[in-house]
């Protein structure tokens, strides 16, 4: 569906996007994750034909976006990182106007606008001016406007930034609904949890370069080569860790709390001998759980950037 090859964008001496390449498959949600200034918006702006790259190639459905931007834009729905509809117009008129920009006839755009207002639960606000909408409502209407012409491909730049929890949840539900209907979605975000929940594949971009990409599972496997098992016991186990370590040479034991320890191994091992050993010491294990690294851990390890930095930059989750 989308093929980006060796894309580079420079602003004077500053390289915002540095020779990046990736593919987005039809019907998938592809996430672009990175801090502010990493090159996310420059990349999306080049992909939608708003910005010309210094070098590289972008094709969408075999259409060369650099040479035939207007043709490519016919199949794109675009949501900018700001809710950029017309304050003076009401919700319904805004949607109809956006439909007209794609050459939709009056009846067709009015019927689609009503359908979208219903889908986004904005029917009651349809005749209110856009300026009277809350931030969350504005965001939803902006996404609805991008869908008025039923695009095959949706570009979402920071879709849930700065809006309330309920609206964010609704937007995420709608994104998944669109994916199920076959829409290909390219999303940029700095919310790791959002990317983990929504995206089929993710690329991490830092200082204009893609540092890692793949499915959440692949990204986690790339950084985690050990198995961690968390054990919760009925009493203090701190005095038994040395004995446990001596008995099972292949494990490393770390005490998290007096009654909680983590067993780290290079490969999977049977747990029963460990449980038996502890039982002999009159220690009962109530819970044993394998711990996987989160996408956040993967991001921090690959980029060296703390996730709190990402969230502070955009005003928090």
């Amino acid at each position: 569906m989308i093929c980006v090859k060796n894309l580079t964008k420079k602003y004077g001496n500053f390289t915002a996007v540095d020779d990046i390449s990736f593919d987005v498959k039809k019907g998938e949600i592809f996430g672009f994750l990175g801090p502010n200034g990493a090159g996310k918006t420059s990349t999306i702006n080049m992909m939608i034909g708003l910005l010309k790259p210094n070098s590289g190639k972008i094709t969408i459905n075999e259409i060369d976006v650099i040479k035939q931007a207007k043709k490519a834009q016919e199949i794109m729905g675009i949501v900018a990182d700001e809710s950029n509809l017309y304050n003076e117009m009401d919700g319904f008129a805004n949607l109809c106007f956006c439909g007209a920009l794609y050459g939709m006839g009056k009846k067709e755009r009015e019927s689609k606008a009503r359908e979208l207002l219903k889908l986004f639960r904005l029917q009651d606000a349809g005749n209110r001016p856009f300026k009277a909408y809350s931030k969350g409502m504005k965001r939803k209407l902006t996404i609805a406007a991008a869908l008025i012409h039923s695009p095959e491909m949706l570009f979402l730049d920071e879709p849930t930034t700065g809006i309330d929890v309920e609206s964010s949840r609704q937007i995420r539900e709608l994104i998944l609904q669109l994916k199920n209907q076959g829409t290909t979605i390219f999303i940029t975000t700095h919310y790791i949890e959002e990317a983990e929940r929504l995206c089929d594949r993710i690329a991490f971009i830092v200082q204009g370069k893609i540092v890692a990409s793949g499915t959440v599972f692949q990204l986690m496997n790339n950084v985690s080569h050990s198995h961690n098992i968390n054990l919760i016991t009925n009493k203090d186990v701190q005095d038994y860790t040395t004995a446990l370590q001596k008995r099972f040479k292949e494990i490393t034991v770390t005490v998290k709390k007096p009654d909680e320890l983590v067993i780290k191994t290079a490969k999977r091992i049977p747990l029963l001998p460990i449980l038996k050993f502890l039982h002999e010491k009159d220690i009962e294990v109530y819970e044993a759980k394998e711990i996987h690294p989160s996408l956040e851990d993967v991001f921090v390890k690959l980029t060296g950037i703390e996730t709190s930095v990402l969230q502070k930059e955009k005003g928090g989750f």
Partner: protein, 243 residues
């Protein structure tokens, strides 16, 4: 057909959202009316007919350049202009849609002093076809100058400042208030480089038969300015997009 739907709806949106708003309607009426009264009071010896070409030109120039520069800068700062740039319509269609609203607004402004003058003098000797054509072409060239200003400015106040920087010198160099022949030698070439010089001269000819150039030369010059300003504005928008 798709481009036509987009063109019509952009024009309709601009007229509804900007030009038909009470502050702009009042500006469109009060400004030309004040200009007319001011000139009439100051120049008691001149006939209203002699003042009319200047009043029409001033009204069109101020109406069009202000409106387009301000509305586009306003849309650019709110990023709604980006929405238009991303629509699958050509830049030519978008530019035509944006300037058509301003041209209509400018023509409306032009007829305020004419209607006002109609209460005092007989206007039946005026060549109306030539007047309408001249008003139209002044409105087109002024709108395109407004577009060029809008592309260069980041904020609304900046657009207004740049507009004034161009408009006031133009008024005094175009031969409306000071004949070009009376201007210092070094300023004369500048006069011939202004579209308003030719528009105002056509109006002088059609209203008072006191034109310096032939109609043909003036219309050709205005058409050249139209094509030139359109091309430069288009280039400026494309260049801005790629920065």
């Amino acid at each position: 057909m798709k481009s036509l739907i987009a063109f019509y709806n952009i024009l309709k949106k601009d007229i509804t959202n900007y030009y038909l708003k009470p502050p702009n309607i009042s500006w469109g009426i009060i400004f030309p009316l004040s200009w007319t009264l001011m000139q009439l009071l100051r120049s008691v010896d001149s006939s209203i007919l002699e003042l009319l070409p200047g009043l029409i030109s001033t009204s069109v120039l101020f109406g069009t350049t202000s409106m387009l520069a301000v509305t586009i800068t306003f849309e650019r700062s709110g990023r709604s202009f980006e929405r238009l740039l991303l629509a699958p319509i050509s830049l030519n269609t978008l530019m035509l849609a944006k300037i058509t609203g301003t041209i209509l607004f400018g023509m409306f402004n032009a007829f305020v002093p004419i209607i006002f003058a109609g209460f005092f003098i007989n206007l039946s000797d005026i060549n109306w076809i030539i007047v309408i054509l001249a008003v139209f072409l002044i409105a087109v060239t002024s709108s395109l100058m407004g577009l060029l200003i809008a592309v260069s400015a980041q904020q609304v106040f900046e657009a207004q400042t740049i507009s004034n920087f161009f408009r006031f010198p133009m008024l005094f160099l175009c031969g409306l208030f000071i004949p070009i022949s009376s201007l210092p030698v070094f300023l004369k070439p500048l006069s011939y480089c202004l579209p308003l010089t030719y528009g105002a001269d056509i109006l002088k000819g059609a209203i008072t038969s006191n034109n310096s150039f032939s109609y043909t030369l003036c219309f050709v010059m205005l058409l050249i300015f139209t094509v030139g300003l359109f091309t430069v504005s288009k280039y400026a928008i494309e260049k801005k997009q790629n920065q």
